[in-house]
Amino acid sequence: MSFLQIDHVSKSFVTPEGGEVHALNDVSVGIEAGEFFVMLGPSGCGKTTLLRSIAGLEYPDSGVISVDGQRIDDIPAYERPVNTVFQSYALFPHMTVGENIAFGLEMEKVDKNEIAKRVDEALAQVKLDGLAKRRPAQLSGGQQQRVALARALAKKPKVLLLDEPLSALDLKLRRGMQIELKRLQQDTGITFVFVTHDQEEAMSMGDRIAVFKDGKIVQLDTPREIYRRPVNAFVADFIGETNLIEGQATPTGIHIPGGGFIARNHIAPDCTFGDSGTVTVAIRPEDFQLSETEGSIHGTVRDVIFTGDSVRVHVQLDSTEVVASLASYGVRVPNRGEKISLNTLEHSARTVAS
């Protein structure tokens, strides 16, 4: 049994039209102590419902949730050893920063001096020392976010639940907070369960990622594994960027539109496919190379986009369009309208279930 154990949890909603939606469809997952666990998926996939079920803000129809050997799904939110950082921060506007952080400790009837000490500690943890007297409205979005974090951390929860906490921040601030959150998690050793729809955020922070779709976990693995070995086209497309190409299987490789051909030895060895029929090939943009000789994939350059760290070349292969990401420096960049050949790196292409 894992530290945070979720067993066969289901929950369905009735839509205003009278239909039934399975927000969670028999989800089971074990999260280890001290783990940074990310739940990733598009909106409406059930990740937030699961997080709120752990917090006690929503009650699943069936299933068992336990933390550290204690069953928690049948006790109210205020008795659970977990705390949440909300997407909207949900800071109390009529209280100062210090009072906000102290609130949760007062509920536990912690001694006054101890509260003052732990408020200072929590503020230091999120680098907001000296701002205890401010009101939330006097802080920037990033600072409010830190207060929300400090308020939950001060309770020293067994599991910290984070519901898309960084989604309201701008990109630069978000990247900074990602690193800080990761460090904070490693320093405190608290188990983090982090919900996000941002795959880049998920990969940069998570020890493991659970990819959700339609109320189910479709893949659960480390970021590296999920990126390199997506179980299906949905994961391949959702995590990072992928070119999904429909091809025809042959005993020696796969024919792709535009007269291209990917030989078996260019496809990852763990991928198996038949000797005939339609298969979906997934190729990451960075796995393409421009071939000066006769390459394996042929097409016409439609757009060339310079992004700074790379040059993205959109190539039309008959009916499909693929994107190749080439180095922006030191290699030849093709021109618009040019007929080019591309090669794939060895073992980089994958066949995926659609």
């Binding site: 205020y78 705390n83 909300f86 909207s88 949900a90 506007p93 308020r151």
Partner: protein, 304 residues
């Protein structure tokens, strides 16, 4: 070639200030002049015969607020008007407290319904405004009358010697009934803006139901409560219909005395002096409520 550029005056969306003129004039004439007259009249002599005043400076009305001249020529401290004032403040205060406690749960309940239901419920709250206050007060009188439904039930239960009509209780029932919507509406508008995710956060941090209500919800709807207090307490101070029609004149409020002096007693200066005293005390209370509002919410509360 000169082309005149039409400059946008004021802020976008702002209408001409001239459009506000009729209302400004109306308010000046309708409120300013009567206010000045009230103060002026209070320093004049009462008319020898009939209505009105005699234009002769005489501040004796103010003396009569507190001093009684006995028939034998001696004078004493007159507590009658202070008692009436105290009554007015008491009834207004009780009305304010009762309506506040009644309004918070109902306003919270309405604010948490879905939009369609909310609109229907709000319409129900404002429905009494469609009917004249006089007719509504008659209605209340029918209900609490000894021969009305409540009286009949009490009679059957053997409590015939208890009466509601023409008692202070009747006055209070009338006041609470009339002023309830004025408390519900501002509290509702605060409650509607309340972000219930904050209640969730409090719950998540270990707070139970009553703690969430006391420490998170109540402070959030406090501006509505304070606005409601101002909207109920101040007009209730000046109300006279309820004490007149339901209280049977036994529970005089200050407005009843003022009306009496302008009517049967024909002592306009004294009525004016009472009015000035009421206005002054009301202002003190407005400032007090504002001060409390500022103290508790940290923001300026502006309703007057």
């Amino acid at each position: 070639m000169s082309k005149k550029v039409k400059k946008l005056e004021g802020r976008p969306g702002q209408t001409s200030p001239l459009l506000a003129l009729p209302t400004v004039l109306f308010l000046t004439i309708g409120i300013g002049i009567p206010l000045v007259l009230t103060v002026v009249y209070s320093f004049l002599d009462r008319a020898t015969v009939g209505m009105g005043v005699k234009w002769h400076f005489n501040p004796t009305s103010y003396k009569h607020l507190f001093v009684i001249e006995n028939l034998d020529g001696t004078t004493g401290f007159d507590t009658r008007w202070i008692k009436v004032l105290w009554n007015s403040f008491l009834y207004s205060g009780v009305t304010t407290v009762v309506t506040t406690f009644l309004s918070i749960p109902i306003a919270m309940w309405i604010a948490t319904r879905d939009e369609n239901k909310r609109n229907i419920l709000l319409a129900a709250v404002t429905l009494p405004f469609w009917i004249s206050i006089l007719i509504r007060t008659y209605g209340i009188r029918q209900i609490i009358d000894d021969n009305g439904p409540i009286g009949t039930i009490m009679h059957k239960l053997g409590y015939a010697h208890y009466h509601i009509i023409y008692t202070p209780t009747a006055t209070l029932i009338g006041l609470v009934y009339v002023f309830l919507p004025f408390m519900i509406l501002p509290i509702y508008s605060s409650a509607e803006r309340f972000d219930f995710r904050m209640a969730e956060a409090a719950y998540d941090l270990g707070a139970r139901r009553w703690t969430v209500l006391r420490r998170i919800v109540l402070p959030a709807i406090r501006p509505g409560i304070i606005a409601g207090i101002a909207l109920v307490f101040i007009p209730a101070l000046g109300s006279f219909l309820q004490s007149d029609m339901l209280g049977g004149g036994k529970t005089n409020m200050i407005a009843n005395v003022i009306a009496l002096n302008f009517g049967q007693a024909r002592n306009w200066p004294f009525g004016c002096a009472l009015s000035v005293l009421l206005i002054a005390l009301t202002l003190v209370f407005v400032k007090l409520i504002q001060w409390i509002g500022k103290k508790t919410t940290g923001e300026q509360v502006n309703f007057v």
